[in-house]
């Protein structure tokens, strides 16, 4: 399997021109292998490994707790639309399904950039910015989970705040990969006709363009695996309560108490108070 594609430029210098098409299939297979492996591993666990819901409920805890505000959900789904459009327009032609993809691709890229910019501003000024950072409690909990995985008796760690550690890690990987795709994608927009500037393929050297194409390609194929994993977790029955919260915004009291520590996260209502009684 080849990793890169190379060609001789007009000066007969060997330059990178992009990643190998094989990597698309490798990413697809990696995603499927991960999903299958995880599903089998979870199935093999004899007993549920989660926290009980025996924690005392805070007084006044409503039946439904707000997890994602409307604006957060709107961001998520707009980003999902743009991401799907980007992946389809990027990889379907590689798979032999030909259609005029370039304009749709860069328009979807612009939508992705707008949603990312919105998300950065929104999460910085209107949400708890630090809720996505990995804290000391997360590390402690992770250590204990790893030890438990290898059969060592460990007391349970603290329940998660708004986001468990695996969500945070996934988020940060997506951030890195998406930023790589966006940064290189913006540069690549100089090579096609867009609304923003006259195309000019000579703003970078051939060798530098090769790097841009490779980074864009690698981030693209990484997103194939990451999106497969994301969809897999979204449709798993034991995660359905999280998925539903991305539709209607709420988690119910039972799931909240089972998976979250009320002292660490009290819902996304005004001023962090437990919101709306239903």
């Amino acid at each position: 399997m080849e990793l890169w594609r190379r060609a001789a430029n007009p000066w007969n210098q060997e330059v990178l021109i992009g990643i190998s098409f094989d990597l698309m299939w490798a990413a697809l297979i990696a995603g499927i292998v991960f999903v299958t492996g995880h599903a089998l591993w979870v199935r093999s666990l004899a007993t549920a490994n989660g926290h009980g819901d025996d924690a005392p409920a805070p007084p006044g805890l409503p039946a439904r707790i707000l997890r994602h505000t409307f604006s957060a959900r709107a961001f998520h789904w707009l980003m999902a639309i743009s991401m799907f459009a980007l992946l389809v327009t990027a990889f379907f032609p590689w798979a032999g399904i030909q259609f005029p993809w370039v304009t749709i691709h860069w328009l979807a890229g612009v939508l992705l950039i707008l949603t990312v910019v919105y998300h950065i501003i929104h999460s910085t000024f209107w949400q708890d910015f630090w809720s996505m950072w990995v804290g000391r409690d997360d590390v402690e909990t992770a250590k204990r989970e790893v030890k438990r995985f290898f059969g060592k008796e460990q007391p349970e760690g603290r329940k998660a705040a708004k986001y468990p550690l695996d969500h945070k890690m996934y988020h940060h990987v997506i951030v890195v990969v998406t930023f790589a795709a966006v940064a290189t994608g913006v540069l690549m927009m100089f090579r096609v006709d867009t609304w923003f500037w006259a195309r000019n393929p000579y703003i970078l050297s051939d060798a530098m363009w090769g790097v841009v194409y490779v980074v864009h390609g690698l981030s693209g194929v990484a997103l194939i695996s990451l999106v497969i994993a994301h969809i897999y977790f979204a449709v798993r029955p034991d995660k359905w309560w999280i998925t539903m919260s991305m539709f209607n915004g709420f988690v119910n009291r039972k799931d909240y108490l089972e998976h979250h520590d009320p002292e660490r996260w009290a819902g996304d209502g005004p001023q962090g108070q437990l919101p709306e009684q239903t």
């Binding site: 060609a7 007009p10 005029p100 993809w101 370039v102 090579r191 195309r199 393929p201 194409y213």
Partner: protein, 332 residues
Amino acid sequence: MAVIRDMIPPCELFQPASIGDALNLLDQYGENSWVLAGGLDSFDWFKDRIKRPEAIVDLGGIEELSGIRADGDGLVIGPMTSLTEVATHPDIVGRFGLLAQAAEHVATPQIRNQGTLGGNLAQDTRCWYYRGGWPCYRAGGNICYASAPKAMNAEHCVFGASRCVAINPSDTAPATIALDAQMVVTNSSGETVYDAEDFFIGPGIDIERMTVMEPGDLLTAIRIPGTWAGADFYFEKIRDRQSWDFSLVTVASAMRTSGGTIQDARISVNGVAPYPMRLDEAERAVIGQAPTDDIGVAAGDIAIRRAQPLRHNAYKLPLMKNLVRRAVRAEV
């Protein structure tokens, strides 16, 4: 980069005697095969060492791919039929003169004797950057040298660019669109029939191909329906020199008039886009109208409305506009 040599690199040459044998070979070698029709373009590619197929499948020995025969009120033309035969065949000259004129405008008599209709329709672009062996989009790379700020792009496209700005160079292609021709493409899975308009594709769909044909596909027939038999035709090819050159802009039209009014029309151009373009809007503008100069001018204006010229090819706009105008005015 192209390295021009006198010899073709070693490869296998197959000369099948039937379509089935040819398809088997194309299946066997896949992307490493090369379909050889008249060979006029192929040998340049091979000698320049830009295309290096493992196997060349020469169609010259397949009789069923040659010749012209009646099919109801239309014709079926084998893709290996020489351009000279297309230009001189009585049925084509008498009923589908547009195609005969187009074939007659290809290159030189010697080339028309050797060149085939299928080869002319399916030929690759003449973009000199691409032909020079540079790693452009069309060659599998990630750049279009012809659309760069200082590129020499006088002969490139004013419509339909999508990263690549090369044009389709075929003289006969616009005539097949104007005649509502159909292309029969066969591979090991069976036969698919494409309208001529859909047979040619742009870089937005596949930047490395000019037609729908993929490795393993063979153009096995060109069907000309009787729809436009005996209609009024107009063909004009503008080139840098009249003796022998590729087209800068070509127009091919078929029209039917009655009572001084255009009843139906097909207008197609080539040399302005990566594919031969049918001018639907211009057709709609002239149908139901008298073929006056004013209508011709209006159709020409409509035809170039969405053009996006490059640095050196804005001259194609008045050229195309006037060719459309002449095609309409020729009805007078």
